[in-house]
Point group: C2
Chain length 421, copies 2
Amino acid sequence: MNGIKEYAEGLAKRAKDIVYEVAGKGTNDKNAALIAMAESINDHRSYIIDVNKKDLEFAEASGKNAAYLERLMLNDKRIDGMIQAIRDIAALPDPVGSGNMLSRRPNGLKIMKVRVPIGVVMMVYESRPNVTSDAAALTLKSGNTVILRGGKEAVNSNQAIANSIREALEHTGFPRDAVQLVDRTEHEIVNELLKLDKYIDVVIPRGGEGLIRAVVEASRIPVIKHDKGVCHVFIDQSADKAKAEAITVNAKVQRPSVCNAIESLLIHKDYPHAASVVKALVKNKVEVRIDRKSMKAVEGLPAGLKDATEDDWYTEYLDYIISVKMVRDVDDAIDHINTYGSHHSDSIVSEDYGNVQRFLDRVDSAAVYANASTRFTDGGVFGLGAEVGISTQKLHVRGPMGLEGLTTEKWVIYGDGQIRE
Amino acid sequence: MNGIKEYAEGLAKRAKDIVYEVAGKGTNDKNAALIAMAESINDHRSYIIDVNKKDLEFAEASGKNAAYLERLMLNDKRIDGMIQAIRDIAALPDPVGSGNMLSRRPNGLKIMKVRVPIGVVMMVYESRPNVTSDAAALTLKSGNTVILRGGKEAVNSNQAIANSIREALEHTGFPRDAVQLVDRTEHEIVNELLKLDKYIDVVIPRGGEGLIRAVVEASRIPVIKHDKGVCHVFIDQSADKAKAEAITVNAKVQRPSVCNAIESLLIHKDYPHAASVVKALVKNKVEVRIDRKSMKAVEGLPAGLKDATEDDWYTEYLDYIISVKMVRDVDDAIDHINTYGSHHSDSIVSEDYGNVQRFLDRVDSAAVYANASTRFTDGGVFGLGAEVGISTQKLHVRGPMGLEGLTTEKWVIYGDGQIRE
């Protein structure tokens, strides 16, 4: 534990020391810094890619799988994506300083609620190095300072990106420590940081279940979780066959590796085309795991389907796999989703007005759909611009978390000597 | 630990089992239940007061002080207050079902953000039994179910109140377990409940620092803190003498036992009437603890003032005591408040436009005032109606927490077969 506590405290205290300086910057200054950040990453492009190669070699040598290496890898196209993302964030409206409550009380007090930065944000994430620049840009645009802690295997790539950003900050009149990267890889540093609620205002973990659970358990700081997506499509008895199949296939295979893809399909016991939708999934190279008991009466299922176990209903495959079950009615579907799902995104396909309303009212998820693919849960699609992630919790922000999610409000009161009677 | 885990799980699971039934109730049904709750408490008035006498005897015998007994005590006037509070909550607008974002996307998706209940709320509080009825009414009005855990010494009073409420719920078609009281007093039950993030959506602790810290450290459930109020008045060099003294005295003595009363006074080193404001405090029976070093040049201070220690600047006295210090300028005042304060409510008294703006922008508190008493931080004054408390944290709700703070939002999307390209 050589100096770990001091190192963590140093980062956190520094982030807090400059928080009011950064919060006080105007929109034009912040946008100029963002443009400079994008340019600096462009200028250091070949250096970043070289450093990333070393991270890749080390990760490969330490036995990481192909999917991991694919997420870690940077090339020109990905650097272009990072640069464009920063430019897009510069073009978004600044949430700071806006408000929608203003009143004058009978005693003459003028009371308003104003949107302000949260303060010090800590991001904990895994392998993708582009999160470093996305998170830096989003937190800066919303007037916060940030402490970034990426995956151990990406530390050199992240450092190269962060240093490009910090250089740009310095050149545009911002403290370079508005963006700080944890550049030591000891795991204990995260746990030390998570104790420092005196300095850090919020921690945002993005990654697998293990990461999220560890952060929630260790943290004294409020956490905004970006947890897994165990999403569902429910095909009601009255569903339109073409829509049901198009939506189910799209929600599963259009991009299986993301959190708003579905993992389970629920079908009303009297829906007449159950075998057909299963066949459509198989045709799209999806491994279908069925609940043998509820599906025993379904005729015409393809041969050789696997059995789903109890664990399957909780599982986020992020792959060409789906679990399928027949349910008694819309209430049975709602119960299943509220019990096994992760409260992310769920859709009903139905032509029955009452069942649609019941599903939308009672499914307890961040996004509930009627007759559309769950794949639309996204900050861009919902009109929020770039997103920090998809919050699966209920407090502060639910669903896609945009710039506004990185702010809080404060009450500002203008008086003229008023006292309370 | 005799059955403690099972007991806690039983409460939490039951609260979750009926959460969608309660969430689905309309405003008229909820208001009818609230009116019935008020009537039931009225009907059981003498029983509740009798039971409270036993709690009082027990608390007195176990050595609780007079202030504690005063908070615990119920009489006709206080029961009237509880009944009126429930009626007031019935008259408030229902936050559930409202929204302010609705858009139609280019592909025809209709996307809206709708306010919904949070789900299962847990309240942990200390001695005042009226919190039992206030919290039950607020959580029911906002469509939630609630688990109440009051002070050990108040358990019989709380049980009498909760049973009156539960009877009324049953008579108006609600599950009586929409309001559950922890009626066993073992401390471990709270810690068991705080692990049950599977069933409980949010925990709201209200009470002293020790209670809040214990809940934050033990909880896996998101917490909305209602922490202490170390509030300040800063008298700037240019302050109007009459306003400065009226605001300082009001903020300290109008009701010293509440969280929006001030605990510290900061005075600009060149403000010419420092001795006068200290005298005004002393005249109002306030014990003044001064920073001897910064105040050594102040002439005309009353004799016999105590010295403030470093601890004083962090202390919420909730009593006729104040700490006083001279500061160099507005920035020095802002630094002091952001360092020692509890980010609750702070006020500047000044006729200088720039200093007022700087103070309002940079003091990092839930409510910041210019030329008014901090005593106005209150859900009623701010136009929110009845309040659950004053949140001193930045996420989800900041400052007075009304009915809206007990809700979250969900995204509801109506489609017609849309899939993602």
